[in-house]
């Protein structure tokens, strides 16, 4: 079976992010990782491969040249093959474009199962999974916490729904997005890291995926960033003093009622 995993390289949550003078671009400290939720997708693909004979895991990202590092992390964990679809000069903020490209790649490569994280922790959109599934006309399930194989044509998944969980049977091919809790992503072994360093990662030009260049660039984007700003900081904290816990609490409740007006 062909398992595809779509991943994204994202700025580390601790990375310093500054807004440049034009207010329209960001300067991001050079600290990047494989997206938190994508690690679960890679791990689940490896476990799936363990359950279904003759499976092959290909990971792919639409990103800049640097994103190859995240692909190598996935190989170090246990993916078989990686592809970088190079978005140099085509970087847009429109998930429709990214999803069309990834769907184009999936069609070309062939697939039985597609996994990706439930959302990227940089733009926090969480759109790509369901969009790719729609472009491929296959079912999707968001935020799965369990995946069981029935046979080569059918799986059973559990996912988050409002106020609970749902279990469903899904026919393959399908696309699943992974939620925390589904597994514990492995830390790559040194042998995996060695393999990843040596791995040949083909770079794909997006225009070879059946989409015209004009449909991929900033002018084609349906989303446009107008500006960035830093969030308004809170005024310094008011530490509430008092002789006893009761006195402090009394003061707090008074402030919450009269000053903050939330009680």
């Amino acid at each position: 079976m062909n398992i595809l995993v779509f991943i994204k390289q994202v700025a580390d949550t601790e990375a310093r992010i500054l807004i440049k003078g034009d207010n329209r671009s960001l300067e991001i400290e050079n600290k990047y990782n494989l997206n938190f939720f994508d690690e679960f997708a890679v791990e689940e693909a490896i476990r799936f491969k363990g359950k279904v004979k003759d499976s092959k895991i290909s990971v792919c990202t639409y990103g800049g040249k640097k994103a190859v590092e995240a692909l190598r992390t996935a190989i170090a964990m246990g993916a078989d093959q990686a592809y970088l679809i190079d978005n140099t000069d085509l970087d847009t903020d429109d998930p429709l474009i990214t999803a069309k490209i990834l769907a184009g790649f999936a069609k070309k490569e062939g697939f039985d199962l597609i996994l990706c994280g439930r959302q990227a922790i940089d733009d926090e959109n969480g759109n790509i999974g369901a969009m790719v599934a729609e472009f491929l006309k296959i079912p999707h399930v968001t935020a799965i916490t369990k995946l069981d194989v029935v046979d080569e044509k059918k799986i059973i998944v559990e996912n988050d729904i409002e106020g609970g969980k749902e279990t469903k049977e899904v026919q393959l091919p399908a696309l699943l997005t992974t939620q925390k809790g589904i597994n514990e992503p492995r830390v790559p072994l040194i042998t995996g890291v060695m393999k990843a360093m040596k791995a040949n990662i083909p770079v794909i030009d997006p225009v070879t995926l059946g989409l015209a260049k004009e449909s991929l660039d900033r002018n084609a984007s349906k989303i446009k960033i107008l500006s960035y700003e830093t969030p308004k900081g809170r005024p310094p904290v008011k530490i509430i003093d008092g002789e006893t816990p009761e006195e402090k609490v009394k003061k707090l409740i008074k402030l919450l009622r009269e000053e903050a007006k939330v009680l």
Partner: protein
């Protein structure tokens, strides 16, 4: 070209979710600016009793009432939304970035080839341009986004982004009947609604969040009691969830839920970046921590430096008295 607005109404356990009223309130304000109509779109089964509740908030209600729409599924809901959108050509479709919204709207956007801005917290419309406010990088940056090359845009918002303003319209109800069918490739086997009686964490106006400083699962009882007094919810840090003191569905933070209640109280939470990213859009933040240098004080409006085991009983009594007086 129409400037009409659709608001997708979400129901939970047979009632309309608070976040839908927030969206209706904002949608009405925008529709008035654009001199257009606000449509409340209600999909479901046996929803007649809900319609009256929405009437004052909208100009029109599009109701599709059929057993096929009883439980949310992306296949039937996307089909129904696609049909209604093609028929009424709205300019803006507003929804909530809830579990349902995050599943439905990207699929719908792809179906319509329409742009989507997700997890937004604000919107302005000025002479034809839509400006959407959206936090990125865990709230470290606020971006202002617009859409282009499109007749229609989809925007989803975090619950608690807008206040509810009851209107005085008496919306016209339009019953729509459509042909939809379930996708046979997906079969629901089982639905488990464990904690469905609780207030939704993302919709709660009040959250009291326990961290590792709570010392053990049994000590969360007092947080439950305080949450109940204020009609809110108990949240937890990841350290607490990883120790299995609370369920993952209670987790606030980067890898948990993003919340913006009116009042957040953190007890024995250190305020690690991964945590504050999930709560720093709360209106008012209170921190109780015995360490005066705890990071959380940098995010809080009010702080109490003390042992939480001394503070919580007093807080419970104080709030109880307050509610009894009211």
């Amino acid at each position: 070209m129409s400037k009409d607005i659709f608001v997708f109404i979400e129901c939970k356990e047979g009632s309309i979710r608070k976040t839908s009223f927030e969206l209706l309130s904002k949608g009405k304000e925008l529709a008035e600016k654009l001199s257009s109509e606000l449509y409340a779109v209600l999909l479901g089964f046996d929803t007649k009793s809900l319609i009256d509740e929405i009437k004052p908030f909208a100009h029109k209600i599009l109701s599709v009432d059929t057993e096929l729409l009883k439980d949310y599924r992306w296949d039937t809901y996307t089909d129904a939304m696609e049909y209604l959108i093609k028929k009424y050509s709205p300019y803006l479709v507003l929804g909530a970035s809830t579990i349902t919204g995050k599943d439905l709207f990207p699929r719908l956007a792809a179906r319509l080839d329409a742009p989507i801005v997700s997890d937004a917290i604000g919107i302005e419309v000025t002479d034809g341009e839509i400006k959407i406010k959206k936090p990125i990088y865990g709230g470290k940056i606020i971006s202002w986004v617009t859409t282009q090359n499109t007749p229609i845009s989809i925007v989803t918002f975090r619950p608690n982004s807008f206040s509810i303003v009851k209107g005085d319209t008496a919306a016209e109800v339009i019953d729509e009947r459509l042909e939809i069918s379930m996708d046979s490739r997906i079969n629901t086997n089982r639905i488990d609604k464990g904690g469905s009686k609780k207030v939704d964490l993302q919709e709660a106006d009040f959250i009291i969040c326990g961290g590792r400083g709570m010392k053990g699962p049994e000590n969360f009882n007092i947080l439950e009691e305080i949450a109940e007094i204020l009609g809110g919810r108990v949240g937890a840090s990841r350290a607490v969830v990883d120790s299995k003191w609370r369920d993952y569905e209670d987790q606030v933070g980067k890898s948990g839920k993003t919340v913006s209640p009116k009042l957040y109280i953190g007890c024995g939470v250190s305020g690690a970046l991964h945590h504050t990213m999930g709560m720093d859009t709360s209106k008012v933040i209170v921190a109780v921590n015995k360490d005066p240098n705890a990071l959380i004080f940098q995010y809080a409006d009010y702080g109490i430096v003390d042992d939480l085991f001394n503070i919580l009983p007093a807080l419970k009594d104080g709030l109880k008295n307050l509610k009894q007086e009211a």
